[in-house]
Symmetry: C2
């Protein structure tokens, strides 16, 4: 099982369809479990630090024995091949992976300290929804790379 | 008008919906024109060079006075802010932009030489469809950045 947590709801139809598609395609390889967490607050009304703290508490409560990997613009940029190594190692260490996509204000230092890796999908900024779509696609691509199978289309 | 050319068809439903959504949202700012070009051949049957040459010819025939910007994994990785500068400069130079997304085999040297810029959306590999989705989203995000408007959600 691979878990992915994100803050805020998944409200865009095409993103939902895309994520569902990759979850379905991933079934023969691994179960993806999506975890929707409540946004820590409104950035126009609350200080960033307070929002980040609430989100950190909500997230870290959910992480048990899994390896926490967070997605952050300032993180390490991997190629698809490099990313697939992380997915592959999971089978070696038999430690489950827990990915987390940051909210609008990004992650609190507590989360960064708890994470085993900080990855960046792109230097560009995306919504949490697009990040989720990209991440599920890259996990699917990883499986194809690991199995040496063709990625059709 | 901003043109985006890509090789191969747009067959994935959720990608189509997403691209249509951003095209619609972009209407008040700029017209996006999508140009679907035929793939240069089957990589299992033809040498890469020959496929790339055919795609280069097809693409370069379409570029008139526009500034050609190609997306390639080896290109420059910009932030969303940096990317928006390119979109903004278009209004200054009044030269239209012509983006091109490579096919499975990537771009021929002729195309790279003709391009004013080579950009990379991510170090990760995506299908041409996902690249198109990301690109339209970033053009929309650029418009919001340029106008100083909020990107809701």
């Amino acid at each position: 099982m691979i878990k992915i947590a994100y803050f805020g709801s998944l409200k865009t139809r095409f993103v939902k369809s895309g994520v569902e598609r990759y979850c379905k395609w991933l079934k023969p390889y691994v179960n993806l479990s999506l975890l929707e967490l409540k946004s820590g607050g409104d950035i126009n009304r609350e200080p960033v630090e307070s929002i980040q703290k609430k989100e950190a508490a909500a997230l870290l409560k959910k992480v048990k024995s899994e390896e926490l990997i967070i997605l952050d613009e300032g993180g390490e940029a991997l190629t698809s091949k490099g990313f697939s190594t992380i997915i592959k190692n999971r089978q070696v260490t038999s430690r489950e992976l827990f990915f987390a996509i940051g909210g609008y204000t990004g992650f609190h230092e507590d989360v960064k300290r708890s994470a085993s890796k900080i990855l960046s999908l792109s230097r560009m900024t995306f919504t949490h929804e697009m990040a989720l779509l990209l991440l599920t696609e890259q996990i699917y691509r990883s499986m194809k790379i690991i199995k040496g199978e063709k990625y059709h289309y």
